[in-house]
């Protein structure tokens, strides 16, 4: 039995923010993650957008924390060395009905106190952002909208929390929780834990966790959303997030609207559609879902400024697609705070969009409240700064020279599309919360995320992982046990060994 003061269930963005906030206090804290890696659920597969908060309905927790969280991003990302850019969001209108919708959004944004939101007429729009089709009637511009790489953020939050004393347990699925004598007993697939407090950040499984200890049952509906990824060739022409109001879309209301989003890595995302499903583990893309995105962009492409450079929707720039399942609460708003009949059990549940944006503010508030109530003492050794190495592809020539002088592995490019070096792959594996699988290397370094999608570098990555983990290449996995990338050894090889064997 491992004993802790606080246990955080889940290492997505809410769990990671919470863990880091908890490390500001003198507490023995652990994070339990069911997946082989951090950031394996909804925090991994989303639009990578830091929302301004213009569309979250006024009066909801979503709206409150969206705006508060957005404001925290500059400092947070600076402390953690995570790239963050406020590129702004345009919601554009092509019909009078859309324009009415924009007026409604503007009013909502003002009530939410989103800074700087403006309604632009078409002439104002093209003065600010040239190239929009004359068929566009106007747009709502939210300057505080931004872009962050969600998994870089989660890895950085966890690394910083770990540096400040938080323990992380991966591959550790919580199967049951009971409360006895003022402590929680947490039963997992890898041994038992106990703690005085629990933060429930379990994403789509947050209802199961809550319902173990509380009679106030909550219900999380898995809501699937898909995105299509376009090659970074488009990146020079995408400098802001562009979307249409959700209400104009087929099946609309579920999403924030179909949009085109730049990303930190330079690729461009299209999406997303959203559909409620029954299976919390189903992250498969569907023909219908992808077609919905494609047909939207095939018809709407002509409105966008990018159509000046790519007159037709550039289908040939598609390099991938992904889906993830978001935790949609049946109440439609975040479920935050202590379960009324389970003191010490604190929910961050139903944490769907704008969860990435809201997480820093939610974690800060809930941890601070708990600290006051439970009398937690500050951790004087807390260091908010996480130092990290700059990726090779972002270095100046002088920095590259210096990096190679110190470690010649910086001079060996492993992933050509994303210019990831052997040194960076090795570091991703050797880090304290390091990568054990090909996907984990990919998430930490971008190796395999480019236009060849790992065609060239996957053999090298598999080989490096095999060497570092001291296992044969065919035990290296894509994403944990059962996802081995290779089968048995070639029989030609075997027969050769046999020959050698018989000779000896």
């Amino acid at each position: 039995m491992l004993e802790y003061d606080v246990i955080v269930i889940g290492a997505g963005v809410s769990g990671a923010c919470t863990a880091r906030e908890l490390s500001r206090f003198k507490l023995k804290t652990a994070v339990l993650e069911k997946a082989p890696d951090l950031c394996a659920g909804a925090s991994k597969g989303n639009s990578a957008t830091v929302h301004s908060g213009h569309d979250a309905a006024y009066g909801t927790k979503k709206a409150l924390y969206n705006v508060l969280g957005n404001k925290m991003y500059d400092r947070l990302c600076q402390e953690l060395c995570v790239p963050f850019q406020r590129n702004g969001t345009y919601v554009f209108a092509v019909t009078d009905h859309d324009m009415d919708e924009l007026a409604r959004l503007k009013e909502n944004a003002d009530r939410n106190q989103v800074p700087g939101v403006r309604l632009l007429s078409y002439p104002e729009l093209i003065r600010q952002s040239p190239g929009w089709s004359p068929k566009v009637k106007g747009a709502l511009f939210a300057p505080t909208g931004g872009v962050v790489c969600p998994y870089s953020l989660v890895f950085a939050l966890c690394a910083n929390a770990a540096e400040n004393g938080v323990d992380f347990y991966r591959n550790t699925e919580v199967c049951g929780i009971r409360k006895e004598g003022g402590r929680f007993f947490i039963h997992t697939g890898c041994g038992d834990f106990s703690s005085k407090y629990i933060f429930n950040c379990a994403g789509v499984y947050a209802d199961d966790m809550n319902n173990f200890v509380s009679s106030r049952k909550i219900r999380i509906i898995p809501r699937k959303g898909s995105h299509i990824i376009l090659d970074k060739k488009l990146a020079p022409y995408v400098d802001a997030t562009l979307c249409q109001p959700p209400s104009v879309l087929p099946g609309g209301g579920h999403t924030k609207g179909m949009g085109l989003m730049p990303t930190d890595g330079g690729t461009v995302l299209l999406g997303c559609e959203a559909v409620d499903i029954g299976d919390k583990t189903d992250v498969s893309t569907t023909r219908q879902g992808l077609d919905e995105i494609l047909s939207y962009f095939e018809t709407s492409w002509r409105f966008l400024p990018q159509s000046r450079y790519f007159p037709e929707f550039p289908k040939n720039l598609i390099i991938g697609a992904f889906s993830s399942v978001r935790p949609h609460p049946d109440t439609d708003d975040f479920i935050l705070g202590e379960a009324p009949d389970a003191p010490g059990f604190i929910n961050i549940a139903g944490f769907e969009s704008p969860g990435i944006t809201a997480a820093p503010a939610v974690a800060k508030d809930l941890v601070r409240d708990s600290a006051e109530r439970f009398g937690w003492e500050p951790n004087p050794g807390f260091n908010p700064i996480r130092k990290t190495e700059k990726p090779f592809r972002e270095m100046t020539e002088e920095e590259m020279e210096e990096a190679i002088r110190q470690d010649p592995d910086y001079g060996k490019i492993v992933c050509r599309c994303e210019q990831v070096t052997r040194a960076e792959v090795l570091r991703a594996i050797r880090d304290p919360l390091g990568a054990r699988t090909v996907n984990e290397v990919k998430m930490r370094t971008r190796a395999g995320m480019g236009r060849c999608q790992g065609g060239f570098c996957s053999p090298e990555i598999v080989s490096i992982l095999a060497q570092e983990l001291r296992i044969p290449m065919n035990q290296v996995t894509l994403c944990g046990a059962g996802s081995e990338i290779l089968g048995k050894e070639s029989c030609l090889e075997e027969s050769q060994e046999e020959k050698e064997g018989s000779g000896a």
Binding site: L294, A321, F322, R405, P408, I413, Q419, G487
Partner: protein
């Protein structure tokens, strides 16, 4: 930073790069350098342990590895400098190269620059096949590398999507490795591979090859557990009701090759969306003076021999260009791809060129047709063909001083 200068720098040490470098040297170029990012020369040939290479070039039936060996020997004997484990990060229109290896950054000023960077395989993502994203999906070339260079099979029960040459070659090799190849699915009504590979790799081994069929779903959470095959209509749209589940643990993709031209693209060298390579004249010079392109980086070839032939020409042209340093380039006439013609190379011809070869791929499968080349409205070349298929590149050799007006190539019934 290490600074160097060379008369000719070749980016890529596969068969195109080596052939171009050797030919340049033979044509009198002074110092010639090959930059290769892998640890060895040879490019993809290193993993091609099957035979069928060298029939035109060496009048022998060699394996890809032997073929690469011959070229490596020639490269050594020609006294060409080689930097392996060296990745080019950037090139400029002024022909400077920024490269990196374990010793640091290198800046190279080249008299002429030859781009021989080869091609890459189209990945699953580009097809947007719906379904899960498990282990067990890989391109045929990656599977070939894992098997032939690392010694591991991709799985036990394999479905191959696409009938490109690498996929066909791998189908045969899987069978020889005692792996079950359940099917090859091709979305088109014909194969995009060479006829000889269809016969020798598929028919001879009785592997089911389904035309007008594609994978419409991938299943399996951690590892592939199966795929759904569907028939497609003439517009390549899946036909509802024709879905069929095939149990397998691997899906191997052989769905097309894309010339690898990120360096040219970044440097702003004009590209041809039809071939995916640079726009070149009949000397394989791009629109930027002194930058030449050849091999699969220029357009995807069927045979290594054809790559070598083309690259030798490019290497000779580059050597000549460095020697003569022509101030004004000759006026260029355009070669237009008409009906039924795709991926035409070269896109331009210098007026007054004595002999020119044009290469292209038929846009579809044609029977009993005629290939015609027009100069304005006048036919200057025609040839009857019984069968044309996109899987086989077509070459036209034009002679004489007929190149004054724009040309148009087309396939006619």
């Amino acid at each position: 930073m290490n600074e160097m200068s060379y008369d000719i720098a070749v980016i890529g040490g596969g068969c195109a790069g080596m052939a171009a470098a050797c030919a340049a040297k033979e044509a009198g170029a002074g110092r010639v350098l090959i930059l290769e990012r892998a640890s060895w020369l040879g490019g993809v040939l290193r993993q091609c342990i099957h035979n069928g290479f060298g029939i035109h070039q060496f009048q022998e039936d060699l394996t890809g590895t032997e073929y690469a060996g011959r070229l490596i020997q020639m490269t050594k004997e020609a006294g060409i400098d080689v930097l392996t484990d060296t990745t080019v990060l950037q090139i400029s229109k002024e022909r400077t190269i920024l490269a990196v290896n374990r010793n640091g950054l290198i800046r190279i000023q080249a008299g002429a620059l030859l781009i021989a960077t080869g091609c890459r395989e189209r990945p699953r993502g580009a097809l947007a096949i719906p379904g899960t994203r498990p282990a067990g999906v890989m391109t045929a070339g990656t599977a070939q590398r894992f098997l032939n260079l690392e010694g591991y099979l991709p799985g036990k029960e394999i479905v191959i999507l696409g009938s490109g040459d690498i996929g066909l070659i791998m189908a045969r090799q899987f069978i020889l490795e005692d792996v079950d190849v359940k099917a090859v699915a091709e979305i088109l009504p014909y194969s995009s591979g060479l006829t000889r590979n269809i016969v020798q790799c598929i028919e001879d081994f009785q592997i089911p090859l389904y035309y007008n069929t594609t994978v419409t779903r991938i299943e399996g959470e951690k590892r592939v557990t199966g795929v759904v095959l569907s028939k497609v209509d003439e517009k390549r749209r899946p036909i509802p009701g024709t879905e069929r589940f095939l149990c397998c643990d691997s899906l191997i993709l052989s769905v097309g090759l894309i010339p690898e031209n990120e360096l040219l693209w970044q440097a702003g060298v004009p590209m041809d969306p039809g071939t995916g390579g640079a726009i070149v004249d009949d000397t394989y010079q791009s629109a930027v003076p002194g930058i030449f392109a050849c091999g699969n980086a220029l357009h995807v070839h069927d045979l290594a021999d054809y790559v070598v032939q083309e690259s030798q020409k490019a290497g000779r042209s580059a050597a000549l260009w460095v020697k003569e340093q022509p101030k004004d380039s000759a006026p260029l006439i355009h070669v237009q791809a008409g009906n039924g013609v795709r991926g035409l190379v070269p896109q331009k011809i210098r007026a007054g060129s004595a002999a020119v070869s044009l290469q292209f791929r038929p846009a579809a499968r044609y029977q009993d047709c005629r290939i015609a080349v027009y100069s304005d409205d006048r036919i200057i070349f025609q040839k009857k063909e019984r069968i044309l298929t996109p899987g086989e590149m077509y070459s036209i050799h034009l002679k004489g001083t007929c190149f004054e007006k724009d040309l148009k190539v087309q396939v006619e019934p």
